[in-house]
């Protein structure tokens, strides 16, 4: 081969190797150098989302699906793999940080993404799920509120959004988890804008809530499951927040919730109580969980993470890892269940298939006997 061509090939191969290993390292680095056991500011989270997307293009893409009251981006990460048969993909929704002071929730959404990124290549089940389902993760919905809790020591316990006071009031913000279009304004809310459960001036009046409803609304027919992450209390809440309304699949919601709680307890012995909000916490209306169930998403849960009151929302950073580990186990348990229910790998589905097969075989035998007898009959 000519010297020039050989040099070209050598240099080219070298550059190719460099580039590949660079993106491999970048992919790993995007998750490895970020400290998931610390709380991060919104700027850090925005930058982290870009890094994760850039480092894992085959798995992660992002979308800005709305703007907060103060006009900041509401961004999600979509986790999914190419479906080998190009079948239509189902959807699972997870959001964190509707309430600004619940810092462990955004920490968990980041942890969740990290776990998926770090294990999907070696976990066959996870790979299968990601081929069939896109998981949409919003690390922080209430961006304005979250940023406000970082402003100074006196703002740390802010809960609501940062919308400006209505006429005649001096108080900012709406409780976004009372603003969704689900029996809005009926129970467990306040119409006083100074209250921490102020439900806003009408259902969906707040841009953050509206962004979720608009985006998920378009995906509803494909959506298997809606998970919304909060703290504190160690609870798994199922719909509905109104004490007189039950979801038609209440029993299944309970059993799937209890299975998740059992998985969570295995890790660090923490108890998570399962039930509707009016049973185990308080009645409320206008929650995102209720809205999701009402529009037809069959599985909808609020996770209230650690703890049970010792630190409440000021959960120490050394608890981030165990809290996220158990939350991940719980979330994955529900995700796996709803996936397997749709894609027929559940034990129940297997039995039905078996019965179908047996009946089919029996009928085949019978019709063969029939045909043979008929033939013999005709010939005789």
């Amino acid at each position: 081969m000519e010297k020039k061509t050989r040099t070209f090939w050598i240099v080219g191969s070298f550059l190719l190797i460099l580039e590949t290993s660079n993106s491999l390292v970048e992919g790993l680095e995007s998750t490895r150098s970020y400290d998931y056991t610390k709380y991060h500011s919104m700027d850090e989270i925005y930058r982290w989302m870009e890094d994760v997307e850039r480092g894992n293009p085959e798995l992660v893409s992002s979308a800005i699906y709305g703007h907060t009251y103060e006009e900041r981006n509401i961004t999600l990460l979509k986790l999914g793999l190419q479906n080998p048969e190009s079948r239509e993909k189902k959807v699972i929704w997870m959001d964190c940080g509707i309430h600004a002071r619940e810092w462990i929730a955004p920490a968990f959404c980041q942890w969740f993404v990290k776990e998926i990124v770090n294990s999907y290549k070696t976990n066959k089940k996870l790979e299968q799920i990601l081929q069939n389902v896109d998981i949409y993760v919003t690390p922080v919905i209430n961006v304005d509120g979250y940023i406000f809790t970082w402003a100074n020591d006196s703002t740390r316990l802010w809960r609501k959004s940062r919308s400006t006071p209505p006429p005649g009031s001096g108080c900012y913000g709406v409780d976004l988890n009372r603003n969704f279009n689900a029996n809005w304004g009926t129970v467990g809310v306040s119409f006083d804008s100074c209250s921490n459960t102020y439900c806003g001036k009408s259902a969906g009046s707040e841009p953050e809530a509206k962004a979720v409803m608009d985006f998920v609304g378009k995906l509803v027919n494909r959506t298997l499951c809606f998970l919304t992450i909060h703290s504190a209390g160690q609870l798994i809440l199922l719909p509905y927040g109104h004490p007189e309304i039950s979801a038609p699949n209440y029993n299944e919601l309970v059993s799937v919730g209890k299975a998740a709680a059992a998985e969570m307890k295995k890790l660090h012995g923490m108890n998570y109580t399962v039930g509707t909000s009016p049973q185990i916490l308080y009645a409320n209306s206008g929650s995102s969980r209720d809205w999701a169930r009402l529009i037809g998403i069959p599985f909808s849960y609020t996770f209230e993470l650690r703890d049970k009151g010792e630190f409440s929302h000021l959960l120490p950073e050394e608890q981030i890892k165990p809290a996220c580990e158990e939350a991940f186990a719980g979330a994955l348990s529900i995700i796996t269940y709803v996936h397997d229910k749709t894609y027929g790998t559940l034990p129940n589905a297997a039995v039905t298939t078996m019965t179908t097969t047996i009946s089919g075989v029996a009928m085949t035998i019978w019709s063969t006997v029939m045909v043979v007898s008929l033939t013999i009959g005709v010939l005789m």
Partner: protein, 295 residues
């Protein structure tokens, strides 16, 4: 003839049992159907219409309170049990001994004529610092009607909760704070990251105990209190061998989700425990966070 009869019989049998291509589908899951919301939702007016009685700040089921045996995981038993926690902390809490409610094992509630509502509870209590647990029986009476005032609590089997020996540590702390050249001050326990410096932990624990007096006083069947943060600690000069403190604490009330500010003046010594001299709720100034745009 025989053959025709056989054919007819077989044909009939086939007709009865169906064709070989029958498909047995799994029962259609109606719950996944977008339109399978309970009919009650569409028919009743609860869907956010104007003529619905709006229950502002209260729960819909307040008129139908649970009586008799209670589900230990449901909120009525849980809220009453939390009051037991506050009671135990006021009686037996110290900088080295703190109680947390771990679980409610069983509960019972009954109306007591002219007095209020009485809860009988079996709970498991955790001593947080020593990390031990103990079962405990308690009665909580929430006064109603003409009788005002705070919840009355009685607890039994509490002696077991005191088994961790804290005497030496308490005495050491007491001496340290009594002999200090300068009076101690502290802020934000824990800080925004949930962190407390190790030598500040006893002050945080003291705040926990002192705030339990407030929480015990303020608790009703419609509240669930926890201490969210000690905003400020100011040690005052020792009086009558009692350490004296001025605390600004933040309480979290779960049902309203409000953060409530209280100022507490109290004394402490190992033999006397925490004695609250003054407690005062502080108005939280909403306008103070950011001035509204007034032109």
């Amino acid at each position: 003839m025989m053959s025709v009869r056989i054919i007819v019989v077989l044909a009939v049998l086939t007709g009865v049992t169906g064709s070989p291509n029958v498909m047995i589908k799994p029962e259609a899951d109606m719950s996944a159907h977008p339109n399978s919301v309970p009919e009650t939702v569409e028919e009743t007016e609860i869907f956010g219409q104007q003529n619905v009685p709006v229950l502002v700040g209260e729960e819909a089921e307040e008129d139908v309170m649970a009586t008799g045996e209670l589900n230990p995981n449901h909120y009525p038993a849980q809220r009453a049990a939390k009051v037991v926690q506050h009671y135990l902390n006021t009686r037996y809490g110290s900088p080295y001994r703190l109680f947390g409610l771990q679980r409610v094992n069983s509960g019972n509630a009954e109306d007591v004529a002219d007095s209020g509502r009485k809860y009988q509870l079996e709970v498991t209590v955790q001593e947080i610092i020593g990390n031990t647990t103990e079962k405990c029986s308690a009665e909580v009476l929430f006064p109603r009607g003409e009788r005002q005032g705070s919840a009355q609590v009685q607890a039994s089997s509490w002696e077991e909760l005191l088994k961790n020996d804290t005497e030496a540590q308490e005495e050491a702390l007491y001496q340290e704070y009594k002999m200090n050249q300068s009076l101690v001050t502290a802020q934000n326990l824990p800080d925004s990251y949930g962190h407390i410096e190790p030598d500040m932990k006893p002050l945080w624990h003291l705040g926990f105990v002192a705030s339990s007096f407030v929480m015990l006083n303020e608790s009703t069947e419609n509240t669930l209190y926890n201490m969210a943060q000690v905003a400020n600690v100011t040690q005052l000069p020792t009086e009558n061998d009692q350490l004296k403190f001025d605390y600004h604490i933040l309480l979290h009330e779960m049902v309203s989700q409000e953060i409530i500010h209280w100022k507490l003046l109290f004394t402490w010594s190992p033999p006397e425990g925490v004695k609250v001299l003054q407690m005062e709720q502080l108005p939280h100034c909403h306008h103070c966070e950011k001035p509204p745009n007034t032109n």
